[in-house]
């Protein structure tokens, strides 16, 4: 698993990458009350804002970590956004992307580096 400075986790699954936010990020956000996901089939560009998360505190964006196509989104989050607080690293994944350029993966952090990053 890889991690971005935007507190996303990226897990390879076949030729797809599953993307979610870290437990640390979920804690910082507080109780999540709304998640807006991209549409399946959308072509996204790295660093494009593609997910909106609203917590009881504020709205935040999630950036596309890679160029590629969104091939699946976690519809369950629309009805139960609180899942993000319960299982950020598992059930509360946001989307699966078919990357067109995997090279940024090399720059993302491994778990040890991410732990250092969040102190």
């Amino acid at each position: 698993m890889k991690y971005t400075e935007e507190h996303e986790w990226l897990l390879p699954e076949g030729d797809l990458i599953v993307v979610g936010i870290t437990e640390y990020a979920a804690e910082q956000l507080g109780d999540v009350v709304f998640v807006e996901l991209p549409e399946v089939g959308t072509e996204v560009t790295k660093d494009e804002e593609i997910v909106v998360i609203e917590s009881v505190k504020a709205a935040s964006d999630i950036l596309a970590p890679l160029d590629g196509e969104i091939v699946e989104v976690n519809e369950a989050l629309a009805d139960n956004p609180g899942k993000v607080n319960e299982d950020a690293m598992g059930d509360a994944w946001f989307f699966k992307i078919r990357p067109s350029d995997l090279s940024p993966m090399d720059d993302y952090m491994d778990e040890a580096a991410y732990k250092d990053f969040i102190g």
Partner: protein
């Protein structure tokens, strides 16, 4: 940058894991480890303890202080019985709201509680208008705690049985753990509860005793905001400000009839002419409640439209977020009076998309006061 002030409960907040943020010049807890949702729900179900020591407490004393205060607020002060509290407004000469406040008749003086961000200006405003006949004395050696929720009565009555005999908006001096406390049965959550002015050096001990009760949880500013929003209560600087007159804010109820046109003590307060004219003619815009459809919160600043496409904005959201008790997003804002009927659909523009919201009677959650 000026250094942030700390309330007498600062150390306790940190010890309890409070996430401290700057607010109105103070370091205040926005939430505790339980989180805003849990804190909100706990207050509605049992009882929450809030530190509101950043708010301004002021004593007004002097001959016929009630009549003197009536020259500053459009309320019936002289008719407020001893041991009773009332909601009030400071106004500028244009009728705009300078602050909202609570004032209490405590026998030989008035006790006034004002918003933290406004307290310096409010004190100057009162001094300019009332001194030297009336002394205006900020109370700087007392903390202010709020104990709110259906369980508050039983908790406080455990320390002072007389607390149970108080009705909504009563004020009394109670001895709590040996501390002389000025207690009102009121608050900012829509729930039954108390606000307790306690000497600073005894505040932490009192807070610890209250928190030791199984039903009481510490509550931060985050849940304080969602609770007051669901209760339809205005947040100064957001839902009301110096450009807002009482009638358009839906606060005409706070101006007793004898201060209005034709009343026994009509006018005689700053902004009386425009304020009374707006009550008589009806305001052009009104504060309303909104229930956005779906789950996306509409927060302060979101522009409102009459139609799903085209047209100019008709108003905007002044505060909004997620209402845990309602189970969905709630908001307040202003719309033209002819579009303000409950049930009307308007559209809030979120991230470039217009999403429907239904105008709803306030409050979103029925008040639970002990009248």
């Amino acid at each position: 940058m000026t250094e942030l002030s700390k309330t007498p409960l600062y150390e306790l907040h940190v010890e309890l894991g409070g996430k401290m943020v700057p607010f109105a010049g103070y370091e205040m807890p926005v939430q505790f480890p339980a989180g805003i949702m849990t804190e909100h729900n706990h207050t509605r179900a049992k009882a929450g303890l809030f530190d509101v020591s950043h708010m301004g407490q002021v004593i007004l004393r002097g001959p016929d202080v009630a009549s003197a205060f009536e020259t500053l607020v459009p309320m019936d002060v002289a008719g407020l019985g001893e041991g009773r509290q009332r909601y009030g407004l400071f106004l500028n000469d244009q009728g705009g709201i300078l602050d909202d406040l609570m004032f209490a008749n405590r026998g030989d003086h008035l006790f006034v509680v004002v918003n933290a961000a406004c307290k310096e200006a409010d004190t100057a405003h009162m001094k300019a208008a009332l001194e030297p006949a009336i002394s205006v004395t900020p109370v700087t050696n007392r903390a202010l705690l709020a104990l709110q929720g259906p369980g508050a009565e039983a908790v406080l009555a455990g320390l002072a049985p007389e607390a149970a005999q108080m009705r909504f908006m009563d004020v009394r001096t109670l001895e709590l753990q040996g501390a002389e406390c000025w207690v009102s049965r009121s608050g900012y959550t829509g729930e039954d509860g108390y606000e307790i002015s306690v000497p600073s050096d005894q505040a932490e001990a009192l807070a610890r005793t209250l928190l030791a009760h199984d039903d009481v949880m510490p509550i931060g500013l985050g849940a304080r905001d969602s609770l007051r929003l669901e209760a339809g209560l205005c947040l100064y600087g957001h839902d009301i400000d110096a450009a807002t007159l009482p009638a358009e804010a839906g606060l005409t109820w706070a101006i007793q009839k004898l201060r209005r046109t034709g009343g026994a003590r009509e006018g005689g307060f700053p902004g009386a002419e425009p304020v009374l004219a707006q009550i008589a003619q009806g305001p052009a815009r009104l504060r309303v409640g909104l229930r956005p459809e779906g789950r996306a919160p509409m927060r302060e600043g979101v522009e409102l439209f009459a139609e799903a496409e085209g047209g100019a904005p008709i108003g905007r959201i002044t505060s909004g977020g997620f209402g845990p008790t309602v189970g969905g997003p709630v908001a307040m804002g202003y719309v033209p009076a002819d579009l303000a009927a409950p049930g009307t659909t308007v559209y809030g523009e979120l991230r470039g998309k217009r999403l429907p919201a239904t105008l709803t009677k306030l409050p979103f959650v029925a008040a639970n006061f002990k009248r």
